[in-house]
């Protein structure tokens, strides 16, 4: 089979809004037909966009799981999608919502409800990357051979991702968003703690119950905008800046001021358009004013703009269409083991890969890190692997892996390897020969993962040639 279409779902539960998209990913063999196959995702079509729903909350600290579930079920029904036809996709929980007490539970329960092979993902950096891809910043930077920064300014957080010629360079996240100050009936109804701190350091008097004064709130938004400028390297970072970073201990410095900038997220529409300026509190928050302040920033306007393909939907589109990858096209696996979900990555470092002996020892030792009550748990063993290895090297590699993973194999758990270089097929065949009995294994390549990641490997696509893969993080900070 030279072409295959798989259905992917994206669900984003954000600070202000919850959305669903369905997309079709087309997988096609891009090789000449006279060489080994090379399948790639060649087309991504969004086939259904949900409405933009307000994220249902039970209290300021709890998500209303039942309401979210009803909302998602309703969108599946109106899209006419059966959850069993979903091949891949992601549920992401973003912004302030990721910090709710029951965020972990919601995202996991939802990923089970959404389809057999839908992953849960979270984490401020991942959010930035997903939104940047949804906005098309990576594609633009690749096609124009340039650097593009996408700032996804949402209700609770602003996520910055910098792409250079299609590759992610860095990502960061600030606790700045349009919904961090809320306005009801002409009065300030809520001020997020960090924004209260910001006001104090800026000498702006603002507290709950005050009359919602546009001039005062505009000053708050200008202070927020200056922090965004600092993160982009457009102004020196103030003493307060580290406080506003979502991950306080992690300072990200851009290597250079980006050549282009785009904005996505709910606030983006108010950056690109002044249509709402006359009605600043139409959303009951400071989103419109924040958009206006960013629009008026001279420092940001000095960077050439790039019009994103998505604004408020960037994150959900990114989750639905840009999280799924496919493995290399020459791989070896036992189909009966698939799909595999939530496998933690056991990552070998270059020193571990230096020799078969080192590799065998490293796998054995690191497997113990993942043991629960002395019992080894399922993992995926990830490494770079040699480029164009000799047959002998492959045999050594296979026996190092099988030997190192003896405790895993002994428990009857599948042996899963994820390599970056194109060696999975010959490695898999060597492992088949090196493993005692009829133990199962999955060897895939052309996938890059890091320690701390999790991987989901889906059911075969394109006539069994490739496996859909999602690399994700399940960390809730």
């Amino acid at each position: 089979m030279k072409q295959d279409v798989i259905l992917s779902v994206g669900i984003d539960i954000g600070t202000s809004t919850t959305q669903v998209v369905f997309s079709q990913l087309t997988i096609q063999d891009m090789s000449s037909g006279f060489s080994v196959p090379r399948f790639e995702i060649v087309d991504k079509q969004i086939v259904y966009r949900s409405g933009i729903h307000t994220t249902p909350l039970l209290s300021p600290t709890r998500i209303d799981m039942d309401a979210v579930r009803r909302l998602v079920d309703g969108e599946y029904a109106s899209a006419g999608v059966d959850k069993h036809s979903i091949h891949t996709g992601a549920v992401v929980i973003t912004g302030e919502t990721a910090r709710k007490e029951n965020a972990n539970e919601v995202v996991h329960r939802l990923s089970d409800l959404a389809g057999d092979f839908v992953v849960a993902a979270a984490g401020p950096e991942l959010e930035a990357v997903i939104a940047g891809r949804g906005a098309g910043a990576d594609k633009f930077s690749k096609e124009h051979s340039t650097t593009v920064a996408n700032y996804d300014v949402g209700g609770g957080t602003s996520n910055l991702a910098l792409f250079d010629r299609g590759r992610l360079v860095t990502a960061t996240c600030l606790d700045i968003g349009g919904r961090l100050v809320r306005v009801e009936a002409g009065r300030v109804a809520y001020v997020a703690p960090k924004i209260a701190e910001l006001c104090q350091s800026e000498g702006i008097a603002l507290k709950v119950g005050d009359r919602a004064d546009v001039a005062v709130l505009k000053r708050v938004c200008q202070a927020m905008t200056r922090l965004l400028e600092m993160s982009l390297g457009l102004a020196p970072k103030s003493a307060f800046y580290p406080r506003i970073r979502t991950e306080q201990d992690k300072d990200v410095v851009l290597p250079a001021i980006p050549a282009r900038i785009s904005f996505s997220g709910g606030v983006a529409d108010h950056i690109y358009s002044d249509a709402c300026d006359s009605d600043p509190f139409r959303w009951g928050d400071i989103g419109v004013l924040l958009g206006q302040a960013i629009r008026e920033s001279a420092a940001i306007n000095a960077i050439a703009k790039f019009a994103p393909v998505e604004t408020i939907r960037a994150t959900v589109v990114g989750a639905g269409t840009h999280i799924a990858e496919i493995s290399g096209s020459t791989i070896e696996y036992d189909a009966a083991l698939l799909p595999l979900k939530n496998l933690p990555i056991l990552k070998l470092n270059p020193a571990d890969e230096a020799s078969p002996t080192a590799m065998r020892r490293a796998i054995g030792e690191k497997l113990e890190w993942y043991a629960l009550d002395g019992e080894v748990q399922p993992v995926a063993i990830a490494f770079r692997g040699p480029r164009s290895p000799s047959f002998k090297q492959v045999q050594e590699l296979a026996s190092a892996i099988v030997g190192g993973a003896a405790s895993l194999v002994g428990r009857g758990l599948p042996l899963v390897t994820v390599s970056e270089n194109d060696i999975a097929k010959v490695l898999g065949q060597a492992i088949r020969g090196a493993m005692p009995g009829q133990r199962g294994f999955v060897c895939i390549d052309a996938v890059g993962v890091e320690a701390g990641d999790y991987v989901d490997i889906g059911e075969p696509a394109a006539g069994g040639r490739v496996l859909p893969v999602v690399v994700k993080t399940l960390l809730f900070r």
Binding site: T146, R165, V169, T330, I423, K425
Partner: protein, 298 residues
């Protein structure tokens, strides 16, 4: 990736320094084409000229003042095409010309060098020959390269098993340099087939052999699948590229479209060990479906 680029830059810087240190400023990558030693026709200098092929064409970049150097280099890294070589008037500059001729010489060597008999013996091949008796005849008479000589036919009939499921064979074809892939691809194919419960017997080798020689081997052995590993006509990118041709019950009456091919097998293309594993899978598929070439849907 950033780190990798940094390493590349470092290597590039080190190479230019090295070339400069060898008194090679006249042909250094950054300032090619400045003629040296003009007017001293009889003076012979000690030392060596730098090896033009030491820098890959992917990393060699001569465009002065490019608008987007990094973008151009990224594009060059994705192709072996000779882009960004610059020019002297309407001509190549000296460095590009020398590199082109060096690569062309590699290709010529790959075609005109014979595979050493010791290599054939060391691999335990059953050695034979086509009807060609010299390299020149091989190059000018493709028809003879497709047929085995009488002695070889008799030897193959005698020493190769009859009616095997799979016969792997090797021919020099248009690149003897491609034989470098054999020690990695052959065991990989065998290992893959073993996983399917298929054993492979002795491997026939055809000197001065063309692709069509697999048809006569198929006829003699009656094997269900013949897999021919043969040196590809070299280009300027590499002289070491090999192809695997596969056919179900091949014989000289089958059309060319009956063959399945996996090409571009070498360290810089599809790695021979990985390609061998892939070839084993295709062989299994051909055995299962009893067709090959365009009739086989891969």
């Amino acid at each position: 990736m950033y780190q990798e680029n940094e390493v590349k830059d470092m290597v590039r810087a080190a190479l230019s320094e090295l070339l400069a240190a060898q008194g090679a400023a006249a042909v250094s990558p950054s300032r090619p084409g400045q003629a040296a030693g003009r007017g001293s026709a009889t003076a012979v200098e000690e030392g060596f000229v730098p090896d033009v092929t030491a820098v890959s064409t992917k990393d060699e970049f001569h465009v002065p003042d490019p608008a987007n150097r990094e973008g151009y280099l990224a594009m060059k890294r994705s192709t072996v095409g000779r882009i960004g070589v610059w020019r002297a008037g309407p001509r190549y500059n000296t460095w590009s010309m020398l590199h082109f001729r060096a690569d062309h010489a590699t290709a010529q060597d790959a075609v005109f060098t014979d595979v050493p008999d010791e290599f054939v013996a060391s691999q335990g091949f059953v050695a034979g020959q086509s009807l060609c008796t010299s390299k020149d005849e091989f190059l000018t008479r493709p028809d003879l390269g497709r047929q085995l000589d009488e002695e070889t036919k008799a030897k193959f009939a005698r020493e190769l098993p009859k009616g095997a499921k799979v016969t792997i064979m090797v021919a020099d074809g248009l690149s003897s340099a491609a034989m470098v892939n054999i020690p990695d691809i052959v065991p990989a194919i065998k290992q893959g087939l073993k996983g399917y419960g298929i054993d492979v017997g002795p491997i026939p080798y055809v000197k001065y052999g063309r692709v069509g020689s697999m048809d006569e081997v198929g006829q003699i052995t009656g094997s269900d699948v013949v897999c021919l590993l043969i040196g590809e006509r070299p280009g300027l990118a590499t002289g070491e590229s090999m192809s695997a041709y596969l056919a179900y019950q091949p014989n000289p009456d089958r059309p060319e479209s009956w063959r399945t091919v996996v090409s571009n097998i070498y360290a810089g293309g599809t790695a021979p060990a990985e390609a061998g594993a892939h070839v084993a899978t295709i062989i299994k598929k051909i055995l299962d479906e009893r067709v090959s070439g365009v009739d086989l849907s891969l």
